[in-house]
Amino acid sequence: MSRARITLSDEARARLATAYPEALAPSPAQRLRVLAVAAVLAGIAVFGFWRLDFNLDRIGSGLAQLGHFLTLMVPPDPGTQLPLYIHALGETLAIAFLGTLLGAVVAFPFGFLAAKNVIPNIFAHFAVRRLLDTVRGVDRLIWALIFVTVVGLGPFAGILAIATASFAELGKLFSEAVEALDRKPVEGIVSTGGSDVEAVRFGMLPQVLPVLASQLLYYFESNARQSTIVGIVGAGGLGLHLAEQIRVLEWQKVSFLILMMLVMVAVIDFISSRLRFSIIGKTRLEP
C-alpha cells in the first residue's frame, strides 16, 4: 500500500505555526524548567549511586549468581517438609485474617473520632490523627519485632503487628470515608428527633459500611502479602522458613515457598475482589 501523506505548503505551515506557537516550539522557560528538574533528579541519582557504592563489577557478578540460583530453583520441591510448610501457610493466613479484622475493629471507632463532621472539636480529631500518623510511620515489620520482644516468637506476634499497622491505616481511610458522607440522612434523623447516637447508627453507618467493607477486603489482600514476611523477624508464617532456606541455599525449597506465596495471594485476590464487587455493586456506592 502506498502512503498517501499530505504535505503542507509552506504558507499553511507558517499559518499553523503562528496560530499554535506552543505546539511547535515550547517556550525556552518551559524547556529550561523541564531540563532543570531532570538535571536535579539525575544529580541526586548519581550522588546516590556514588554514596551507596554501586559498581558494575558487583552488579555483573551478582546477576551471574542470580542466574545460577535460578537454574538451581527448578523444579520447585519441598523435600520432606511439605506438612511443615502447609502449617506455615495456615499461620500466614491466620495472621493476615485476624490481623486485618482486629485492626479494623479497633480502627472503626477511631475512624469516627478522627472525622471532622462527627467530632467538631479541632483538638480532639487533631490528636487522634497525629496518633494514627505516628503509628503509621512505623513499618509493620518494626511492629513485628517489637511484639516479638513483648509476647515472644510465633504467629501471635505477627497478628498483633499486622493489627497495629492496619489499625492506623484503616483508621485514616475510615475517617476519610466518614468525612465524605452525605449529610442529608443525618439531618433527616436529627429533624425527626433522633439522638446523636441514632444519627450515627441510622444516618451514617448504612452509608459507610459498604465502603468500609470494601476497604477491609482490600487490606486483607495487601496484608496477605505482608504476613508472608513477618516471619523473617520471627513472627510466624512462611517468611520464617523462606529466610531459613535462603540462608542455607536450599533453592528448590525457596522456589517452592515463593510459589506457595504467589498461589495464596492469587486465591485471596480472586475471592476478595469478587466479594468487593458484590458489596459495592449492591449499594452502588463508589469508594
Partner: protein, 294 residues
C-alpha cells in the same frame, strides 16, 4: 393534624407485607450465614495463629512497660545533657537515614523508569497483540506480588551485604506496583490524539511519545511521588535482612534491648517519613492541579 396517610385495604396490603417480610427474612438469613462463616474463620485462625487470650492479658503489662522503658529519661533541669545522651549517635544515624532515603530514591527512580517503559505494553488501547499485553501484565504482577523483602533476601545472597541489593529489591517491587497504576492511567486517556498521530503516519514509539506521554506525565509523577513515600518506609526495614540503611541499627537496638536507642531511631524514622509525606503531598497537589486530569 389529622392523619393524612391512606391505608391500603388489607387485601392489597397483605401480599405486599408478606413480600416485604420475606425479603427481610432473606436478608437476615444472608447476614446470619455471613456472620457464621466469619466466626468459623476467626475460630480457625485463632487456633492456627496460636492466639491465647491468657497470654495476651499476661503480656499486656509487658507491652506498656516496653513502651515505658523506651521512653528516655529527660529531666527539665538537665534537658540538654539528657537529649545529648539520648541522641548520642546522631551523626551516624543521620548518615544512615540519608542512605535510607537514597535507597528509596534510587529504588523508586529505577522502578519508575522500568514501569514507564513497560506500562504502555500492558494497555489494551495501545497494544493489539493479546500475547504482549498478557506477558507484560503477568510480569508486572509477579514483580509486585513477591514482597520486596524476599527479593532483598535473595539479592543479599547474590550481591553481598549492603545497600545495593536493597535498591534493586525496591526497584523491582516498584516497577510492578507503578506499572499497574501507570497502565490504568494510560487506559483512561483521550484516544483522539492517538488516532491523530496514527492518521498522520506516526510509528508506534512516536505515537506513544507525542500522543500518550503528554497526557499522562503529571499523573505518573504523582504516583511516582506516592511510591517514594511508601519506599522510604520500606527502605527503613531493608537493614533487617542486611540490605542497608537505618534498619540494621534499629534491628540491633531492638534485639539487644538498647531501649533509648530504639525510641531515638524510631522517632528519626517517623520524622523523616512525615516530612517526606508533607513535601510530596504539596508537590502532588500542584502537579495534579496543573495537569488537571483528576
Amino acid at each position: 393534624m389529622a392523619h393524612a396517610v391512606t391505608r391500603l385495604p388489607d387485601a392489597q396490603l397483605s401480599p405486599m407485607l408478606a413480600a416485604y417480610e420475606a425479603a427481610v427474612r432473606e436478608r437476615r438469613r444472608h447476614s446470619f450465614i455471613a456472620a457464621a462463616v466469619v466466626l468459623v474463620c476467626i475460630a480457625l485462625a485463632a487456633w492456627m495463629g496460636e492466639v491465647k487470650p491468657g497470654v495476651l492479658f499476661a503480656n499486656a503489662g509487658r507491652l506498656t512497660s516496653y513502651f515505658a522503658s523506651i521512653v528516655p529519661t529527660l529531666r527539665w533541669d538537665a534537658l540538654g545533657a539528657d537529649l545529648a545522651e539520648w541522641y548520642w549517635n546522631l551523626d551516624h544515624w543521620l548518615k544512615l537515614l540519608l542512605d535510607t532515603i537514597l535507597i528509596a530514591y534510587l529504588g523508586t527512580l529505577i522502578g519508575a523508569i522500568g514501569a514507564f517503559f513497560l506500562c504502555f505494553l500492558a494497555c489494551a488501547n495501545l497494544v493489539r497483540s493479546p500475547f504482549i499485553r498478557l506477558a507484560a501484565r503477568r510480569y508486572l504482577e509477579f514483580c509486585r506480588t513477591v514482597p520486596e523483602l524476599v527479593f532483598a533476601l535473595l539479592f543479599v545472597v547474590a550481591f553481598g551485604l549492603g545497600p545495593m541489593p536493597g535498591v534493586l529489591a525496591l526497584a523491582i517491587h516498584t516497577m510492578g506496583a507503578l506499572g499497574k497504576l501507570f497502565a490504568e492511567v494510560v487506559e483512561n486517556i483521550d484516544m483522539k490524539p492517538v488516532e491523530g498521530a496514527i492518521a498522520a503516519g506516526a510509528s508506534w514509539p512516536k505515537m506513544v511519545r507525542f500522543a500518550v506521554v503528554p497526557q499522562v506525565t503529571s499523573n505518573f509523577a504523582s504516583y511516582g511521588l506516592l511510591r517514594f513515600e511508601i519506599n522510604v518506609r520500606e527502605a527503613s526495614i531493608m537493614g533487617f535482612v542486611g540490605a542497608g540503611g537505618i534498619g540494621q541499627d534499629l534491628v540491633e537496638a531492638i534485639r539487644k534491648f538498647y531501649y533509648s536507642d530504639v525510641s531515638a531511631i524510631l522517632l528519626l524514622i517517623i520524622a523523616a517519613v512525615m516530612i517526606i509525606d508533607l513535601v510530596t503531598e504539596q508537590i502532588r497537589h500542584r502537579l495534579l492541579g496543573v495537569g488537571g486530569h483528576r
